[in-house]
């Protein structure tokens, strides 16, 4: 068998894994790999404008498809720039394989140009990482990396490859079998645990299901919907669980947690059995732990043993892949009705918070009324982080799994737009929109170049209120309106003297329409609902590239309801008043 270089082995391995698109940024240490990719038509190499965006794009590609997303970056700063992207993917269990160049093995440790301890830096933000010392280990390492990234609780894997390893030659064997002795994910639920769970479900009078991101990751949504209908159990979602159950299901209560719906949070506090499916009881979702679901027994089904009883102590843990566990449970559960409880649920669902409308500027709810009316339901929605993200969770009508891409755990501003780019490459036939804010969008705005060059018809909805709105909201509620560094407008006065009179301010820093023009993208600014409707309609039909819709929104609208940090889920605020 003839020998091929490490760079060829990497690319051949990518082909074996069925990789069609990779996102990357070149540099000295990865020139040999990029050279091979140059003559590999099977793999579409997409140049992003920043390594962080390359990883977010791979993440968006992965979340919207369930396949592994792949990024490739150079050594040193190329690798350090991926850390935020990797941490984002790690937190939300997204399969990403990131290939990082490294200085030659002979130069590791001498503080060489563009040298960084990539494995050391990425240890805490990846599921696993490798430093490949020997070209003979390369193929197996590639194989293992894809397997580790995709299986069990998925996550990012970094492969740090010194330049000399990409140049050295060896024979290429791609073993189909995987044997990693320290890594054997448990897939099936333990029968005894399942029996205990079924017993609790049968005896419950007020059961409630929480669907987390795990339900979507394991493609268990169909099975989950079946059990909900069969057993007449209402359901609430975590942020990353949105889309698992359709918004218009009579059982669906919306998201719970800090900015959850009244119905979902009250139902958690009232239920007598809580069944958590692929959710890790994040503090933003549970509120004060001591008073979380005080009347409930808890069943927790998750593939990650370490997620069980980490925050909330549970009565019946079941470790396994959710889809398989649901399939095991399906024949074991009996059909049931909880009429009284469902009546109460409907009462709770009728309790809605106040929604501002008809203000001098467009409000959040109005934005989503237009979006829900005009955007097709199979649209993939990427968000950034902040108020617009919570409004998306509250108001957007999610019908299908894998239609929401959002940084739930790490809360990474700048995630949305590159994730939308990744998703659009993976789903060329589907509409992709990015809902963002004027703060978040600027954190990866350079990717307009990538989207324009590849003619990606992404609709970018910037909810522009001139503030870092979520932090501003906290400052208003909890810091005596001391708006420290949250106004994004240009002000010639000392910020402390600002009365919030925007007539004195040049509000458009930056002017997103001019930014769009600079990148040869389309951009429209809208100030009224009619303008918004017109712009969204136009954007849907515009397929030549991205279109920015700069929506001038209410400056000081807050996200309601809100459970203040450290409070119980039923202590919700609405303009300072407990609901």
């Amino acid at each position: 068998m003839s020998k091929i270089s490490g760079a060829h082995i990497i690319v051949e391995s990518l082909k074996k894994e069925g990789v069609e698109v990779i996102f990357g940024y070149p540099g000295g240490a990865v020139i040999p790999i990029f050279d091979v990719l140059y003559s590999t038509p099977e793999i579409n190499l997409i140049l992003t404008r920043h390594e962080q965006a390359a990883v977010h794009a791979a993440d968006g590609y992965a979340r919207s498809t369930g396949k592994a997303g792949v990024a490739i970056v150079t050594s040193g700063p190329g690798a350090t720039n991926t850390v935020t992207g990797l941490a984002t993917a790690n937190f939300d269990s997204v399969p990403v394989v990131c290939i990082a160049g490294q200085v030659p093995t002979s130069m590791i440790g001498i503080d060489a140009f563009q040298e960084a301890d990539t494995t050391g830096l990425t240890n805490p933000v990846t599921k696993h990482n490798y430093l490949v010392h020997d070209v003979n280990e390369l193929a197996m390492t590639m194989k293992n990396s894809f397997y580790i990234a995709k299986s069990g609780r998925p996550g990012p894997v970094v492969i740090d490859i010194p330049k000399n390893v990409t140049l050295e030659k060896t024979e290429f064997h791609y073993d189909e079998k995987i044997n990693i002795r320290g890594y054997k994910p448990h897939l099936d639920g333990h029968q005894n645990q399942l029996k205990k769970a079924i017993q609790l479900i049968e005896h419950a009078k007020k059961p409630l299901i929480i669907v987390g991101g795990g339900s979507i990751i394991s493609n268990a949504c169909e099975e989950v919907r079946e059990i909900i209908n069969k057993c007449d159990i209402p359901v609430t979602a975590t942020l990353n669980g949105l889309g698992c159950v359709e918004y218009d299901s009579p059982y669906f209560l919306g998201m719970h947690g800090m900015h959850g719906t009244i119905a979902a949070n009250k139902a958690i506090q009232e239920c007598d059995l809580l069944i958590a499916l692929g959710s890790r009881f994040d503090d933003r979702a549970t509120g004060k732990l001591a008073t979380f679901a005080p009347k409930a027994k808890i069943i927790h089904i998750d593939i990650d043993t370490a997620s069980i009883s980490k925050n909330v102590t549970v009565d019946v843990p079941v470790v396994g892949d959710l889809k398989r566990v649901m399939k095991q449970m399906s024949p074991m559960v009996k059909e049931k009705k909880h009429s009284e409880w469902m009546e109460r649920i409907n009462e709770l669902k009728a309790m809605t918070h106040e929604i501002p409308k008809n203000q001098s500027r467009i409000t959040s709810f109005e934005v989503f009324e237009v979006i829900n009316d005009l955007i097709p339901q199979e649209t993939i929605v990427a968000t950034d982080v902040g108020q617009h993200q919570m409004w998306t969770a509250l108001y957007y009508k999610f019908k299908f799994p894998r239609t929401l891409l959002t940084s739930g755990g790490l809360g990474t501003m700048g995630y949305g737009f590159p994730a939308a780019i990744g998703a659009q490459f993976a789903n060329p036939e589907k509409p992709v929109i990015c809902i963002t804010g004027d703060g978040s969008f600027q954190m990866n705005i350079q990717e307009l170049a990538t989207a324009v060059i590849h003619k990606l018809p992404i609709i970018i909805l910037v909810m522009n209120n001139g503030y870092l709105g979520m932090v501003r909201q906290w400052q208003e509620l909890f810091n005596e309106r001391r708006y420290s560094a949250t106004c994004l407008m240009y002000c010639e006065k000392n910020p402390q003297e600002c009365q919030g009179n925007e007539d004195d301010c040049l509000i458009l820093i930056p002017d997103f329409i001019k930014v769009a023009q600079a990148y040869c993208a389309k951009g429209v600014r809208v100030k009224t609902l009619d303008e918004l409707k017109k712009a969204v309609t136009e954007a849907i039909h515009y397929t030549d590239g991205p279109m920015i819709i700069d929506i001038i929104t209410e400056r000081t609208e807050n996200v309601w309801p809100m459970v203040p940090g450290g409070a119980s889920l039923d202590e919700m605020l609405k303009g300072g008043r407990v609901i």
Binding site: T119, G120, N123, P124, K127, H128, L131, H133, I148, I180, R181, G182, Y183, D304, T305, A306, I308, S309, K310
Partner: protein, 159 residues
């Protein structure tokens, strides 16, 4: 409560860093850590001790088990273990106390492994409590240097 975790890990680059990082990044403290090769050259064993409550040791065990390079993690049962620690210490050599120092070393079954006109280097192995007791008894003679390995432990029976 004191816990001893026994790990069998891949004998590879970076594994010790991964193990210690997963512990410290979650805010837990390592009591002692020893590492060395196993009966097979491609695996190593680590013995890590913790002083913590039950909930934390459970989380630590789970988090360590998640590491791909960790093949096996077991919590060593206090009643079912053979445990040893090695201590090396340098004690001052004084004419008037030399005889009684020798007696202490003899009682604890320690050994003098190096002698200079001004000091002795003494070694002792035993379970942790014995090492503690030995050090307490040597302290009055003047300890100049002290080094403990931390315990290593095996279960009495194959499990």
């Amino acid at each position: 409560m004191k816990y001893i975790l026994s790990l069998i890990v891949e004998n590879k680059h970076g594994v010790l860093a991964k193990v210690s990082q997963v512990i410290t990044s979650r805010g837990y403290n390592i009591g002692t850590l020893t590492a060395g090769p196993c009966e097979n050259k491609d695996t190593s064993r680590m013995i890590i001790t913790f002083n913590c409550d039950e909930k934390i040791i459970e989380q630590i065990t789970k988090q360590i088990s998640k590491l791909i390079d960790v093949i096996k993690v077991s919590l060593i049962d206090h009643n079912e273990k053979v445990e040893r620690e090695l201590v090396l210490l340098r004690a001052a050599r004084k004419k008037d106390t030399e005889a009684s120092l020798f007696r202490v070393i003899e009682i604890f079954d320690g050994r003098i492994v190096h002698v200079t006109p001004k000091s002795f280097v003494i070694e002792l192995t035993g379970h942790v409590e014995k090492v503690d007791g030995f050090i307490e008894n040597i302290r009055p003679y003047g300890i100049q240097d002290l080094l403990r390995t931390g315990p290593i432990a095996l279960t009495r029976f194959v499990n």
